[in-house]
Structure formats: structure tokens, C-alpha cells
């Protein structure tokens, strides 16, 4: 049990190093999202936060296919979503799911 705890501590330290390393493809893409949607997608004023999970993926796909429109906006995200591949939508969804957990873990400290 103690060994597991030590191992976890090492991995946690490693994870914190990688958080500031050369960015992956998805991290560069997420930085573009965060340019409007706030640090870690937390939202900025009237611009809504990004929450990971299936809802984000469903919305992005619907806007990309133009089968739904974002509520209360000038349809800007319907154009932005057209830039995204399926793999990128999956990557961003996972990214914001993890980031959200981290942000909430930070907030609950």
C-alpha cells in the first residue's frame, strides 16, 4: 500500500512536470479554444465555459454538421466547429474532462 502511495506521488510529480512541457497537438488546439473560453476553458464573462464529456462532443458535432445552432450567439461556433476533425473533437473532449477535474481538485483544496 505504501509502495503504491510512493508510486502515485512519483507519477503526480511527473504529471506536474509534463503540464509545462512542449505542448501536444491537442494542447495547442486547446490553447486556441482557451483564447476565448478562459483559462482551462473556465469561461470568460458571457463566453461560456467548456466542460468535457459527451455533451461537448455532441454539441461540436451538431454545430459542425449544421444540424443545431448554439443558443443566443451569432452562430460563430458553427463556423469554428467546421475546422475540427472527429479525432480533434475526441481529443478536446478528453482534454477538458481532465482539465476540469484538475481545476475542481485545485478549487476544492
Amino acid at each position: 500500500m505504501r509502495l503504491l502511495a510512493v508510486g502515485l506521488a512519483v507519477l503526480l510529480a511527473v504529471a506536474s512536470v509534463t503540464a509545462t512541457a512542449t505542448p501536444s497537438q491537442i494542447e495547442v488546439l486547446a490553447a486556441a479554444c482557451n483564447g476565448c473560453h478562459g483559462k482551462q476553458g473556465a469561461g470568460s464573462g458571457a463566453i461560456p465555459p467548456l466542460r468535457g464529456g459527451s455533451e461537448l462532443a455532441t454539441q461540436l458535432r451538431a454545430w459542425r454538421e449544421q444540424t443545431a445552432a448554439p443558443e443566443g450567439s451569432g452562430h460563430l461556433m458553427m463556423r469554428v466547429a467546421r475546422a475540427l476533425t472527429d479525432a480533434e473533437i475526441a481529443g478536446l473532449t478528453a482534454h477538458y474532462a481532465v482539465d476540469r477535474d484538475d481545476a475542481e481538485a485545485e478549487a476544492s483544496k
Partner: protein, 421 residues
Amino acid sequence: MNWSRRRLLQAGLALPAVISAQARASAHGRVVIVGGGFAGATAARYLRRWAPALDITLVLGRRPYWTCPFSNLALVGGYRLAQLQVSRAALAAEDINLISAQAERFDPEKRKLWLDDGRMLEWDRLILAPGVELMPDAIEGHDWAATGQFPHAWQAGPQTALLSARLHAVPDDGLVIISVPEAPYRCPPGPYERASLMAWWLARHRPGARVVVLDANANFTKDSLFLQDWRQRYGDRLQWLGRGDSGALRRVDSRRGSIHTDFDDWQPDLACVIPPQRAAAIARQADLDAGTGWCPVDPRTFASRVHPGVHVLGDAAIASPMPKSAFAAASQARVCAAAISAAFAGLDAPQAVLMNTCYSLLTPERGISITGTYRATADAIEALPGTTGISPAAMADDVLAAEARHARGWYQRARAEAFGD
């Protein structure tokens, strides 16, 4: 999935990146950035995040910095000028060396930059993000001294205060002229947002006054939306004259305060003359602009086509079809920071995703936007199909209001991201 399992999974997936992070940490690199606007400051902060071992120096110039975004709103009282001024305290707290001096010249082979206080900085990578130089002298009869008579307010600050004061002094039956230079220039929709907000203010406070936009261009960004809105709100009290309607400014007379085009002579109560522009002087050193006034770059990394160890970001760079906007500049800065951090780590640059959105206010509470998403190839910046476009023409009033709120949300965020302020 519980928190620790997710952490374990995340850490496990990230192991190969750990090795490169350690390799990078042992490589000491020096990056010098010239220009403390949206491009330079965003680049500095993303480099600090993505390449923590780098020695990063940001050369800010000698003047305080007021953001150009939202400076049009400051003309009509929607923001105070002091609110547009940014603090650099957060940058200093992130171990970014700040220098308040002017960059004068650099040597791309010796990798040295000289400042106007005699100091010399050595670099492994130089990032130039100095913005534009205004050229009032390019207009017959005009010069820097006459920018007091014909305010440009195209670099925010004292000129913004001057133009605002002059607007407030316009008489009730007054004539205001805004003259727009031939593209490219900083902030393509800026002159038209300015016309919108000035007309909005005049309609409330000087209902007999009118605004004429004299434009050296035949069309402009979001023109259908602006022109439709102007007709509805102001009728003939806001008039646009393009190149084909003798809109191009030929000469000013600062003694008489008059404005002249090929066929018309105007005697306005206020003339806001936006001068032609080119890349600021430091970005035209060492033939970096290849004699064109703007700097050609590899859009995957924003490395100069002329001197690849020098990167050029923001308004000074040729990044068409991206406009010269703060949003585009920050997007380019993130791509450049990712590329430089990868290069110091011995990795290939990640695929560059570039974005732009230009919000424009029609009134302080109503807005429209244009957006585009781009991928960079070795040769060009390509707009992705279907990603470029403007707000729909028949937007409901509540959607126009939402766009204005989103504009403010973007501004808060872009400031926080670039300056931590």
C-alpha cells in the same frame, strides 16, 4: 473514474513527453521578444509555460501601453482610458525579464540586439512583435505635428483622449470625417466601428451632426452588416464614400483644417485621419521586410523567410488571409511559442492551428463579428472550408446584444491571457 486513477492514466500516457521535457530542461536557450502588445506578451507567457527553462526577455519600449481593442468605445465614454492601460506586473512575476527601452537594431548572424540605452542583448531566438508604424508624412500636407489637428488615435493612449475631447467639442450641426487608408492596415474593421460609435454618440448629443467616412478602399470587412445598420439607425447622417466615390484622401491642409480628395474639398469640424501604415522600424531592419514594408514569414512557425532565427508576429508580419488584429496576433504567438519550445526540445513543431475573430460594436451594446480558422502549410495560411464568415444579416436584436457581450468576454480573456491583467 476516480481522480487518482485518471491521474495515473494521464501520467502513464504522458511518459514519453517527460523524457523530452528533461532533455529540454538541460538546454539553456535565450529568447528575446521585442514588443509588449498582445503578440509579444502572449508569446512570452506561453514560452514560459511550454519551455520553463528558457531565459525570456521582453523589450517593452518606453511608453505605457493602452490596448487598441475597446479604444473606440473609450472615445464615447464606454471605457475610461485608464482602464485600457495594462500592467506588466504579472509578466515580471512569471520570471520574464522586462526591459523598458527601445530596440534599435539587430544582427541576425551574430544574434545580438541593441537597445537605445546602449545595452546589447544576445539571443538564440529573436521574436519581433513591434506592431505598425504610422506614416502621416505619406499624405500630402500632413506630418506628425499635424496629428494634433487631425487625430489618428490608431495607437491607443493620448491620441484616444485627444480624439474623444475633439468629438465632444463638435458643434450641433457639425461634420466629422474619418479617413481610411488603403489596406493593409491595423484592425481592418476598426474605422467602421469607430464611425458607428461616433455616430451613435452624436445622434444622442449632437443630433444635427453627421459623419462621413472617406475610404481609399472599394469595399471593407463586414461592409454589408455595417452599411445596413447605418442606413437603419442614421440614414444620411452617416455616409460612406469608397474609392469609386472620390473617397481616397489626397491632401490635407493643417492651417485651414481642410481635407481634399480627387474631386471634393471638405471643411470638417473634426477630421480623424488614419495614416497609411507599415511594419514598425525594427521589423524592417536587415531587409526583414524584403523591401515591402511587411515581413514575410513561414506560417508554421512565424520564422522570418529572410532570417529564420528571427520570428515576426502580429501586425508587422504578412499573415494574409489573417487580418492584423489582436486576436490574430495572440493566435500567432501561441503557434510560435509551441514551435520554439519544440525546437529547443529537438522536436518537430506541432501542427499550427490559427484563429481569428474580430468583433465590432455597432453601438456600445450591439455587436457583430467575423471569424476564420486556418491551418498553416509551408507556403501559405489556408482558411479551412466553411470556417470563415460574418454574423448573419438578419440577426435578432438579442443576438446582436449577445455578440456585444461576447466581445467584452473576449477582451477580458485576451487581456488576461497576454498580460495577466
